[in-house]
C-alpha cells in the first residue's frame, strides 16, 4: 500500500512545513533569536518539505530492499541534493559560513527522529498484534 500518493502529497508537504516551521519558531523563541533571513529560510523549509516528501514516497518502491539500507540511501540522497543546492546557491550569492553544517543538522535530526519513531511504531504494532492473536487463539 502506498502511504504517500498523488492525493495526499500536498497535505504531507504542508504537515512537514508546519511542523518544521513551528519547531524553528519555538527554538528561536527559546533562544531569543531573531532570524535575519526569515523569508529565505521559510522558502528553504518549503523546498526541504517537498524534497523530503518526494524521497519518502520512494519508500514504497524500495520494499524489497533491507529497511536500514533504504533509510541510509534516502538520507544520503537527501543530504546530497541539499548540499548540491547549497553549492549552486553559493555560485550566485554568498552562503553563510556554516551553511553546510546547518543544513546537515537540519536534515540529520528529523531523519533520525523519523527513523526512531518508525522503529518504535513497528515493534509497538507487533506487540499489539500479538495481543489480538492471543485473544483470537484463546477463543478457539
Amino acid at each position: 500500500m502506498k502511504l504517500i500518493n498523488k492525493r495526499n502529497f500536498v497535505s504531507i508537504v504542508c504537515i512537514f512545513f508546519t511542523l518544521i516551521t513551528c519547531g524553528k519558531l519555538l527554538y528561536e523563541r527559546a533562544l531569543n533569536f531573531t532570524d535575519r533571513y526569515y523569508t529565505d529560510n521559510i522558502f528553504t523549509i518549503l523546498g526541504f518539505s517537498v524534497l523530503i516528501t518526494l524521497i519518502l514516497s520512494l519508500h514504497f518502491y524500495l520494499q524489497k530492499f533491507p529497511f536500514w539500507l533504504v533509510i541510509i540511501a534516502q538520507y544520503a540522497l537527501t543530504v546530497g541534493i541539499v548540499f548540491l543546492a547549497i553549492f549552486i546557491h553559493g555560485r550566485f550569492s554568498t552562503n553563510a559560513p556554516t551553511a553546510y553544517w546547518d543544513m546537515f543538522v537540519s536534515i540529520t535530526i528529523p531523519f533520525f527522529i523519523g527513523a526512531l519513531v518508525y522503529y518504535i511504531c513497528f515493534f509497538v504494532q507487533i506487540k499489539r498484534a500479538n495481543k489480538v492473536l492471543e485473544k483470537l487463539n484463546g477463543e478457539e
Binding site: F67, F122, I126, N130, V132, L133
Partner: protein, 162 residues
C-alpha cells in the same frame, strides 16, 4: 461435560463433549429466525466452507479452517494444511476476495495466511515481520502488506468482540 455460554443474551451456546463421537456437529434450536441468529449462521457458513484440490494426483476436499497458508509457486496455487500441500485452482486474488472475512490476509505477493493459524509475530533487526505458524513453520511478511494485514487482524478482533 456441558459448558454454557451466552452470546449477547440472545443465543445460548451449549458445548457438549461426547466420547467416541464419529463426527463433530452443530445443532441450532430456534423458534423464529431473527437477525442475531441469521448473523451467527452467516458467520458459521463462512467458517465451515470447504475447498477442492488435488493431492498426490487424488481429488481432496479440505476445510478452509484447516489451511495454514496459501502460496503461488510457478503459477500454481497450493494450500498448506498440517500434513498436506493441496494444489487448488483458485487464484490468490479470488481467495482473498471471497475468504478475507474469515481470516485470510495477504502477507506478500505470493502468500496468503490464515490469521487463525498464526502463533505469534516477531520483528527482526531489518524491520521484517516474521510470522510463526502453529505448525512451527515461519513466513516473512512483506512491508508493503503490513498495514493491510494489521487492518484485517483488527477487523477479526472487532468481529470476535461482537
Amino acid at each position: 461435560m456441558h459448558y454454557v455460554y451466552f452470546i449477547r443474551i440472545y443465543i445460548k451456546l451449549i458445548k457438549t463433549k461426547e466420547e467416541n463421537l464419529e463426527e463433530n456437529y452443530l445443532e441450532l434450536h430456534y423458534d423464529k429466525m431473527d437477525e442475531e441468529t441469521n448473523a451467527v449462521l452467516d458467520r458459521l457458513r463462512d467458517t465451515l466452507r470447504y475447498i477442492e484440490g488435488t493431492y498426490e494426483d487424488k481429488k481432496v476436499t479440505i476445510a478452509l479452517t484447516d489451511i495454514f497458508y496459501i502460496e503461488t509457486v510457478d503459477r500454481k496455487t497450493f494450500a498448506y494444511t498440517k500434513d498436506m500441500s493441496v494444489e487448488i485452482k483458485e487464484a490468490l486474488k479470488d481467495i482473498l476476495e471471497e475468504y478475507s472475512k474469515i481470516g485470510f490476509a495477504r502477507i506478500s505477493k505470493s502468500v496468503i495466511v490464515n490469521i487463525y493459524k498464526i502463533k505469534k509475530l516477531q520483528g527482526d533487526i531489518n524491520m521484517r515481520v516474521i510470522i510463526f505458524l502453529k505448525n512451527d513453520e515461519k513466513l516473512i511478511m512483506n512491508r508493503s502488506y503490513k498495514n493491510d494485514f494489521y487492518k484485517r487482524l483488527n477487523d477479526l478482533k472487532g468481529r470476535s468482540a461482537k
